[in-house]
């Protein structure tokens, strides 16, 4: 039987493009990550609004997020009912500090995930360090070409063990993500909105639909990132307790 020449060419082209896609997918992930908040030595103010079924705001909370370096973040609660509370996230370990206590409470990734504030979602760790690209495919978005990246957590301690991330195929801007737990249960669906920030663009808003809590919607809005040198003592839970009043 005579080989089908056009089929052979198509297969070779596919193999070649698969190799290229693998590289492109890594680049897309890295560039998508750069749009997100959480650059080293920054402080950013965040507002979290819980929305009811009618879209009305049922609860509003304010936070300040201090990022020291990749994977090391302190979240300080600013709302009156939570004032004085802090959460330290360091190397996928989590501690909560309550006011009037010298005791940092070690919390599990699930407790961090299910907290009122969705603290883990406010101060997400780096996609690049935490996830590996295991697949990618073109994805149809409205009026633009997108790429669907299938990501797996690089370590068991990462809160969302699988993520399906949709990014703009040309600019790498993150558009949406489906976030899965260790059990492969869909936990949340996120949509990203970018906005002008200085000379470029950065993440301005994330809208989460909580698949575990009857589709509850949470809108997370980011302010402008400011340069802030995070003291090393804050990254030790005992030191964070004694950090006192944080600006």
């Amino acid at each position: 039987m005579k080989p089908n020449r056009s089929l052979l060419v198509a297969v070779l082209a596919l193999c070649s493009s698969a190799g290229a896609l693998s590289m492109d997918a890594q680049t897309l992930l890295r560039r998508a990550n750069e749009f997100r908040a959480g650059r080293p030595d920054t402080r950013i103010d965040v507002t979290v609004k819980a929305l009811g079924a009618d879209g009305a705001v049922s609860k509003e909370r304010a936070y300040s997020v201090y990022t020291a370096e990749a994977g090391k973040t302190v979240v300080v609660m600013r709302s009156p009912s939570e004032v004085g509370q802090k959460v330290l996230m360091a190397d996928e370990q989590f501690w909560m500090v309550l006011p009037n206590s010298q005791r940092p409470m070690r919390i599990t990734p699930m407790q961090k995930l299910l907290g009122d504030a969705s603290v883990g979602d406010i101060a997400t760790s780096s996609w690049v360090g935490d996830y590996e690209v295991v697949g990618s495919a073109p994805h149809s978005c409205e009026a633009r070409a997108c790429e669907k990246l299938d990501l797996r957590a690089a370590r068991p301690s990462v809160t969302y063990q699988r993520m399906v991330l949709i990014v703009d195929a040309v600019t790498a801007k993150p558009i949406s993500a489906d976030l899965y737990l260790q059990s492969d249960k869909l936990a949340k669906q996120a949509r990203f909105t970018l906005g002008k920030s200085g000379s470029g663009e950065s993440l301005q808003e994330m809208v989460f639909r909580d698949a575990l809590a009857n589709g509850k919607t949470t809108r997370i809005s980011y302010g402008v990132a400011q340069k802030y040198s995070v003291p090393k003592t804050w990254l030790n839970p005992m030191g964070l307790i004694h950090s006192g009043q944080i600006d």
Partner: protein, 426 residues
């Protein structure tokens, strides 16, 4: 009745100073606080000595029917100073009357700063160190009563403290004048000069602690604690402490052989006993459906022994029986009221098991908690609901004493207590 102490007077001056400073540096000063209003109602009567005494002489003035409190807390915080004060009006309603107590307390008032590699604190501070939910044996500086139906506000200890931190460890040393404000008067605990220390290490994702305390009256105690998070949903923890000297309640010898079985003074005595140990192990689990579970078991060597409670029960039964036979009712009732002194201790039972389940529905949390006194002490069931609003929270809790009729749980206060409250933050 109104109580103010030297700390309140001194703190007024500190408050004025902070207010003056704050007006000049308003951007550095944070002002916050909250107000709470709680009402409680006690239902049914227990089989305890107070009920028996009231049955004998008809005086129910020590049997609580209910009550409530209003309190407010103001907190001023600056980078180098913290000050918080609380005022409370507490009302208790008895069978045959009621009484109110107004209290003003300085909860914290301290200054802080850096001294070389150390962070130093001086003044009145809340210092809670240990791990655990229902029991924390290594809270050797700050004692918290962990089973109040409504959580009390913590009042700090006067101390000088120095901390040192590295990336994954820390050390704390402090000298304090320790005063156990929540201890019952019967325990006769005097303020004590102590020196205490805590070491902390984070090793391979596990938190490890070492504790040491030396007290002028209580001697030396040492402790260890650890917390680990083996999976995304589970945490395990444990804490153990040994102590050289413990205060414990005993019975004076021979009251049962006194004339008519009556004692002429309170037979429940507080004595210094020998070494003791305390320990707790526990686990938490949090599921994706916002269900969380806690299981904890602990041994508290500071609590009275089972033999103590057997003797106590026997003595109660003897007094009830003899009072019912036509003896001097007032005298037998008085003896029974002395017996109730034993129930004022912070920790009543040595072998304990606590199970707690809580489920969140948006901002509403429902919870159920069972504390079992293993080996015949009975148990207490607490169910609750709390609703978080934007600046306020509402809480409703019901506690019921259960178990065998002669069990210790059935001897406490009323059979059940309902507490309802609101807390508003500003």
């Amino acid at each position: 009745m109104r109580r103010t102490g030297p700390w309140v007077r001194a703190s007024r001056r500190l408050l004025v100073a902070l207010a003056c400073y704050g007006s000049a540096h308003a951007q550095d000063l944070t002002v916050g606080g909250d107000a709470r209003l709680y009402l409680r109602s006690t239902t049914g009567t227990s089989g305890g000595p107070l009920s028996s005494a009231a049955q004998l002489d008809g005086d129910g003035s020590l049997l609580e029917r209910g009550g409530g409190f209003w309190d407010g807390m103001l907190r001023l915080a600056h980078r180098h100073a913290v000050f918080s004060v609380a005022g409370t009006v507490d009302h208790v309603s008895h069978h045959g009357g009621g009484s109110s107590v107004r209290t003003a307390r300085v909860l914290e008032g301290y200054v802080t700063g850096d001294a070389g590699a150390f962070k130093v604190f001086a003044g009145k501070r809340v210092v809670s160190w240990d791990v655990g939910y229902g029991f924390r044996p290594n809270d050797v500086v700050q004692s918290e009563y962990r089973h109040a139906l409504v959580a009390p506000r913590l009042e700090g200890q006067v101390m000088l403290q120095a901390d040192w931190y590295s990336e994954r460890s820390s050390a704390t040393v402090l000298a304090a004048r320790q005063r156990d404000t929540g201890a019952p008067p019967a325990m006769d605990l005097h303020p004590e000069g102590i020196v205490a220390g805590r070491g902390y290490w984070n090793v391979d994702g596990n938190d490890l602690y070492l504790f040491l305390k030396a007290g002028r009256l209580s001697g030396i105690s040492t402790g260890l604690a650890a917390v680990t998070v083996p999976s995304e949903s589970t945490s395990l923890y444990g804490s153990v402490r040994t102590l050289e000297q413990r205060r414990t309640m005993t019975f004076a010898s021979g009251p049962a052989n006194a004339v008519g079985g009556l004692a002429s003074s309170n037979p429940v005595l507080v004595t210094d006993a020998g070494r003791a140990w305390q320990g707790v192990i526990g686990a938490t689990w949090t599921g994706p459906q916002r269900l969380s579970l806690i299981a904890e078991v602990w041994w508290d060597g500071l609590a009275p022994s089972a033999t103590f409670w057997r003797d106590w029960q026997a003595r109660n039964a003897q007094l009830r029986a003899m009072g019912g036979l036509g003896g001097p009712a007032a005298a037998y009732a008085g003896n029974l009221r002395w017996q109730a002194t034993a129930l004022e201790q912070r920790s009543l039972w040595r072998r304990n098991l606590l199970l707690r389940a809580a489920k969140k529905f948006d901002d509403l949390e429902l919870s159920a908690e069972a504390l079992a006194w293993i080996d015949g002490g009975g148990w207490m069931l607490t169910v609750g609901a709390s609703q978080d609003l934007d600046r306020a929270s509402l809480e409703l809790r019901w506690r019921q004493s259960l178990g065998p009729q002669g069990g210790l749980a059935r001897q406490l206060g009323g059979a059940g207590t309902l507490a309802a409250g609101v807390k508003v933050a500003f």
